[in-house]
Amino acid sequence: MLESTLAALQVLFTPSGAAFLFVGVVIGLLFGVMPGLGGPTAIALLMPLTFTMQSNHAMALIGGIMGAVSAGGSISAILLNTPGTAPNAATCFDGYPLAQQGKAGLAIGAAATASTLGGLIGAVVLVAVIPVMKSIVLLFGPPEFFMLAIMGLSAIALSTGGQFLRGLIAGLIGLMLSFVGYNAVSGGVRFTLNIEYLWDGIPLVPALTGLFAISEMIALSVSGGTIVNNKAAGNVTSVIDGVAAVFKHWKTLLQGSAIGTLIGAVPGLGGTVAAFLAYTAAMQISKHPETFGKGNIEGVIGPESANNAKDGGALIPTLAFGVPGSAEMAVFLGVLVLHGLDPGPMLLIEHEGVIFSLILALSASCIIATLITLTFARYLVMITLIDVHVLVPLVIAVSLVGVYALQETMGDVVTAGIFGLLGYLMMRFRFPRVTLVIALILGEIAERSFFQSLNMSNGDWTIFFTRLPALILLAITIGCLTFPAVQAMRKRPQQPARAE
């Protein structure tokens, strides 16, 4: 293993290896920043180019992309409330309010640092669990997926921002929207109003772009001014504070990285789910869950660390069984195959060097992407001081072009528009958007894994309570839900309620 690592390092430090890595990082950052485009698109587009490359160089390029995409995506999420890639949507909830308060530097610093550290943790965990990776992948089946989804959905109770009933209503609407489209278990198409466009369900990227970016731009053009609230404009925090914040909230970082790695290692869930579960979990362990959605830095650290940790995690099932753990990995498998490398356990035995090149490139990319981001952060932050008359048309045009570019259908642009309007109305009438988004993302998994589990057990409901991993997840969920209440009850006698 050490030998392969050294060999991979040697490749990475040749001028051509380093050049491919750097090109990968830059492409990753750009595809990340552009709303709509993301890692899978970047890798799919570059796939033909890698045909003629040496395997090690291809790994450097792709590792560079994978490691950098989420750092790029977090920038647009924080500055413009526009998730650069779907997993970055969770970063919008707290990153953008921070930007509004004039603390964009803090948020970008924290996001970039959390991404790097998360990515490195994911890579270390990957290398550490290689000997037992098969059993880790096999630990999670449909009943566990269901419990994971329930765990995430239960956080809706915490994220209503004081508007409990409105939050629940928004959550239920999110659930209903998540069921639109093809039912993978029974094979039928439902709730599509006979619109063919909806057969694959409501596409996530246009919906998120609408809910976050477009709705925010509508609100901005109504209110005028700049993204930064005028009174806070003087309060420009440094990027270094953001770096420090990550170390201060190391628990959130570790938790986010652990969730990212685990979700990455489980085929069929993906980066968006990882980021949202990390966000909800950060909220659940936070001392101040009520400040989430209003600019709590933990709400940036959690999802961003998960976002990059999942890349290391997603390699686990790829190496163990040749099954991709994320959307990027699915496309990456295609690259491996075209290079004559058979994804699966033989890969590690026959081509250890290639895999270590990828892991190293992935780690190096996280670091380089963060350095680039931190260097340019102070200039990027200026975006929040641009007048809305200039900013709004620009952001709307760029977001809609990004949304269109993904599938080249006008339907996606219309979806972004509809969700933009919905998002604006929700803001206007104080319905929290976060509960809708959590439900929209987790609803499909909850439904699918629920029916899969019942099929497995011939309709016996006890399947959710008789498997140890599922039971542990359920216990954590119940614990998280009751913990605030228990804590409040214990505090009450000694400490009278204090306004915060």
């Binding site: 993978a184 694959d200 069984f321 899969q452 099929n455």
Partner: protein, 317 residues
């Protein structure tokens, strides 16, 4: 006078240039629709063939793969069915998958007989497998379970789902289908994990799991087994199911002008004989079996006929 003559000549030249350009397909880039997501077998096949197709087309244009996933392939297929029949939109198709929703009584948006069947890319038979860690070694062992055999697949309307129901009917055991998995690698993994007892998957996918010692192959629908120790379905007494599998074809919208169809089909077949592609396909396990426009539709019908016989079985959800 000279001026008029010059104008006339240049006008004639323009007319000539435009007509000859119309006659010469292709004039612009070709969109190659994959009605499934990125990363699957059909996606990989298109991305493998596209660069070589660019080389064999009479004019230098790009062939651009485009994923249009949705409803188990029906969304992308329906889109291509309605596209302009000018040769600039083609699609890869799963046979029998493309016909299954129609067979099982769903209302579908396209008529498979009206498509222009340009070429066949490849055929892949199935291997059936059980978990290598489990006690079962054959279908006979599974029959002794005393309950329906649980078989994993992507979902109702998918090829392996139907194939499993057909095998159950022929071999005489009760089957309960477990659907909802995202692709063949994922539903094979589900059997390793113990979600189900049995699964059928294309040879390329299954071989890997068998070699790694995670799956035990119980039969193959190949004529001659390519995996040591896995018996053919014929040797188990079901010769009629030999060839049960999933094929890849290339389609164009109905009403494609004949010369364009011929050009596309010939270019496709020629691309697939490129030694570089053949070597790459061999290395990746992509089962190339090219057939041109004259034979493609008949071959597809023949593959379909095997599934057609079991209409009642495969209509069960």
């Amino acid at each position: 006078m000279l001026k008029i003559a010059l104008t006339a000549v240049s006008a004639a030249a323009t007319i000539l240039a435009t007509t000859s350009a119309h006659a010469q397909f292709p004039e612009r880039n070709i969109e190659f629709v994959i009605p499934f997501g990125t990363g699957g077998g059909f996606d990989r096949a298109v991305r493998l063939v596209s660069p070589y197709l660019e080389k064999t087309l009479p004019k230098k244009v790009e062939v651009l793969p485009k994923n249009v996933p949705g409803a188990g392939g029906r969304k992308g297929t329906a889109q291509v069915y309605r596209a302009k029949p000018d040769g600039y939109t083609i699609a890869i198709a799963n046979v029998p998958g493309i016909a299954l929703p129609g067979l099982t009584g769903e209302k579908i948006e396209y008529d498979i007989n009206k498509f222009t069947w340009l070429a066949r890319i490849g055929v892949s038979e199935y291997i059936a497998g059980v978990s290598a860690k489990g006690p079962h070694k054959s279908i006979e062992d599974l029959k002794k379970l005393g309950r329906p055999v649980k078989c994993t697949a992507t979902g109702f309307g998918a090829t392996a789902y139907a194939a499993c129901q057909i095998v159950a009917k022929e071999m005489g055991f009760q089957v309960q289908m477990l659907g909802g998995y995202k692709g063949s690698a994922e539903y094979v993994l589900a059997v390793v994990r113990g979600d189900g007892d049995l699964t059928l998957a294309p040879i390329v996918v299954m071989k890997k799991f068998i070699q790694a010692g995670d799956i035990r192959g119980v039969f193959t629908t190949e004529e001659k087994s390519s995996v040591p120790g896995v018996p053919t379905i014929a040797s188990l007494g079901h010769k009629n199911l030999t060839g049960l599998g999933v094929d890849r074809y290339v389609l164009a919208p109905p009403g494609l002008p004949e010369p364009i169809g011929k050009t596309l089909s010939e270019s496709l077949v020629k691309a697939m004989t490129n030694p570089e592609l053949v070597a790459l396909a061999e290395k990746t396990g992509e089962p190339l079996a090219p057939l041109g426009i004259d034979k493609a539709k008949a071959a597809a019908d023949q593959s379909l006929a095997l599934y057609l016989k079991y209409k009642t079985e495969i209509s069960k959800r």
